[in-house]
């Protein structure tokens, strides 16, 4: 009787070791690869905006479809900061000794998407900033397994994330 109990336990352990752990490790690798793909396309997307000075609907759609092709769903946050040099021009006339007295106006994802849908593009100018951050919203296999074994709880956990930001280097035209 005791022997068979041990055997059953041993079989369970063996099954976990032989199937579940490799599966966990495999699924984590998949997420790593996805993360890399997401990071690369985020960087490319942001850098394109930075060097061309414009954000087009086409580029945005392409970016979204690239990251979605990893098989996950994502929450994409874009933030554009528009530089306003006017206060600097006004307050510091002939004896201006300070620099950096500028303001920024922010645009967030929903406003950006609305603008893109209406005009097909957003033009930016030199000195504006753009930042994109993404994280997955679905549960990947590795997250499911981890939750099962490690009892991780909460909605805010994510496995695949990427972010990139920078200053726009050129005035966008057309």
């Amino acid at each position: 009787m005791g022997d068979s109990l041990i055997t059953i336990v041993a079989i369970f352990l063996a099954a976990i070791l032989m199937f579940v752990f490799p599966l966990m490790s495999m699924s984590e690798r998949t997420d790593d690869v996805s993360e890399l793909a997401v990071q690369t396309s985020t960087t490319e997307f942001v850098d394109k905006v930075r060097t061309t000075g414009k954000l087009t609907l086409e580029d945005y759609d392409k970016y979204i479809s690239t990251i979605s092709s990893t098989g996950n769903s994502f929450d994409v946050d874009i933030e554009i900061q528009e530089l306003d040099e006017n206060p600097g021009v006004k307050t510091t006339q002939a004896d201006m000794t300070k620099i950096g007295e500028n303001l920024y106006y922010n645009l967030y994802t929903s406003q950006i998407e609305e603008k893109l849908n209406n005009n097909g593009k957003i033009t930016l100018k030199e000195g504006d900033r753009i930042g994109v951050s993404v994280k997955n919203t679905n549960q990947t296999i590795s997250q499911t397994l981890k939750n099962f074994f490690y009892q991780l709880a909460g909605n805010d956990t994510y496995q695949i994330a990427a972010q990139h930001a920078g200053i726009v280097t050129v005035n966008g035209t057309k």
Binding site: L36, T43, N86, Q93, Y105, K125, E126
Partner: protein, 550 residues
């Protein structure tokens, strides 16, 4: 895994360094009063190159590369200028001692040129980033050198050209007679003399700093300012009163009703008209099929854009308006520039061979990147041969420089509206600065009163003494929140030049004529002021006009 990470990180570093190089070039040229002089320009470029290496060196510092080591991974840097370009890279220097005679440096300036041959004709056309060309070689059997801007000749009304006669007596009593073009009609718009003004900071003998508004006019590429004591040049922030007769003659002729006027706009169109008539008559039949390699034997067949039998320099054809991007002239201009950059750059990169186990080759540019290179002064940098995992890094970066003293593009003119409603342009007031195609200005039919170049709105510095540096704005106006602060959707610049405004209709996915906007730009001052300013700034900037007529 490592490879992708490194690749994006190198690309980012290359971009940052290129942007820094452009920024340094901008700052140096804006504050350099002589930056259009060739030697001075080379100095600005070299400063920009060193800031590129500094920036890249700092960024890659953590990965263990120094600026010198980096040089072997940067096969070329290309500075495209108004009428040609510089390649920075390795070249063979015969005067060096030793066997290895390669040296890093700026190669000689290369023009955007193309040779055309037909019966009785064998000449070279130097293109530029806009509608100005230089023609030299044999035209109709005689050798010529001519330079000027191309416009549609039918748009000028010859009878509308007005000249101002003036008799000037110099200080020794000699009489001089002079006449200058002051008005001309272009495309239904009368280009008239304008009063230009800007703020200037000067220092007098007692080192007192004075910021004031002066009227100015540009003559022979130099700004002449007017104050109560006469006319002066700005010489290292000091007033240098003018005694040169040629200059005084011009300045006095241009002064009436107590104001100094600029006739550059009208003069530009008058010169362009004369040149275009000549081009029409002599080069009117030239097509892309007349294009030859520099050797004059091989026909060029591999242009990126083919226009076949279409006449490049036919300026009577209204579909060939050189100011509009889609014209045959512009297509050829871009094809020529692209071809010369491509071939010279490809050979410069391929011949670069400091590292034995890596073969340098020029990466393919995207169409979007070509668009940047062909329409504005820009910098292209290349980084190749850094080992990443099992492969080698190979990428490039192109950043345009839209604040420079090299070229006036259609985008570089900003207009000012009379926001405080007093009817005149005040430099230091609420009068707002806009992009010429600003939706708010056009839709709300605001009153436009002046237009200047974008770099005139940039902050400039004045060095008083070592360590005491002051800043000022030649035009300290507030920038519009609809078009400049938040560069949203504006009308198309080509439409403004052509005089018919169009708006995008989402339902039909086409551009439809907007009657209200078209009516406004033609009935108000907007189009007139814009076209005058565009011509004026071009005329005042380019030295090439000096060749004209010889």
């Amino acid at each position: 895994m490592i490879r992708f990470g490194l690749q994006t990180s190198y690309t980012r570093k290359l971009q940052t360094a290129t942007a820094d190089a452009i920024k340094s070039f901008q700052l140096n040229t804006i504050n350099n009063k002589y930056s259009t002089v060739s030697d001075s320009k080379i100095r600005d470029i070299e400063a920009s190159i060193s800031s590129f290496y500094n920036s890249l060196g700092t960024e890659l510092g953590a990965s263990g590369y120094t600026a010198e080591e980096l040089q072997s991974f940067i096969p070329a840097m290309v500075y495209t200028m108004y009428d040609g370009y510089y390649i920075y890279g390795e070249y063979w220097n015969e005067t060096l001692e030793g066997d290895y005679k390669y040296q890093y440096g700026l190669r000689p300036y290369i023009y955007y040129s193309c040779r055309y041959k037909s019966i009785n004709n064998d000449f070279i056309v130097n293109y530029t980033l806009d509608n100005t060309i230089t023609v030299y070689g044999i035209v109709n059997g005689t050798y010529v050198t001519k330079s000027g801007s191309l416009i549609l000749t039918d748009l000028i009304k010859e009878s509308s050209i007005q000249k101002k006669q003036y008799d000037y007596t110099d200080n020794v009593g000699n009489q001089h007679h002079c006449e200058y073009v002051v008005a001309i009609q272009y495309d239904g718009i009368t280009i008239e003399p304008e009063i230009l003004k800007e703020q200037l900071v000067t220092i007098n003998e007692d080192n007192v700093i004075d910021r004031q508004e002066y009227e100015y006019v540009t003559y022979s590429n130099r700004k002449i300012y007017k104050d109560n004591n006469g006319y002066f040049w700005n010489n290292k922030n000091k007033k240098q009163y003018i005694t040169d007769i040629e200059t005084l003659k011009f300045a006095e002729c241009m002064t009436w009703d107590g104001h100094l006027h600029s006739n550059s706009g009208a003069q530009y169109y008058a010169d362009a008209y004369e040149f275009s008539k000549w081009v029409n008559e002599h080069l009117g039949n030239i097509t892309q099929e007349n294009a030859y390699e520099a050797d004059g034997v091989t026909k060029i067949t591999n242009f990126a854009i083919t226009t076949k039998q279409e006449k490049i320099f036919d300026l009577t054809n209204e579909n060939n308006n050189p100011l509009i991007e889609e014209s045959t002239f512009n297509q050829n201009r871009m094809a020529v520039i692209r071809r010369t950059i491509e071939s010279n750059l490809a050979s410069a990169i391929a011949n670069y061979g400091a590292i034995a186990d890596y073969e340098f080759e020029m990466p393919l540019f995207t169409e979007e990147d070509w668009d940047k290179l062909l329409n504005n002064v820009s910098l292209a940098t290349f980084m190749q041969g850094i080992p990443i995992g099992t492969k080698y890094y190979n990428n490039y970066c192109i950043i345009t420089n839209d604040k420079n003293k090299e070229v006036v593009t259609t985008d570089s003119i900003y207009v000012i509206t009379d926001s405080n409603g007093n009817g005149v342009y005040d430099l230091d007031s609420l009068d707002e600065v806009h992009v010429a195609t600003c939706k708010k200005v056009i839709d709300e039919e605001e009153s436009v009163i002046a237009a200047y170049r974008n770099i005139d709105f940039e902050r400039q510095n004045v060095v008083i003494t070592e360590g005491d540096e002051r800043y000022f704005y030649p035009h300290a106006n507030e920038k519009c929140y609809h078009c400049m602060v938040s560069a949203a959707d504006n009308y198309d610049m080509n439409d403004l030049i052509a005089g018919t405004m169009k708006t995008y209709s989402k339902n039909t996915d086409t551009y439809e004529v907007n009657n209200k906007a078209t009516n406004y730009i033609n009935s108000s001052n907007l189009r007139k002021i814009y076209l005058t300013a565009l011509a004026r700034e071009k005329y005042d900037l380019y030295k090439t006009n000096a060749y004209f007529g010889t």
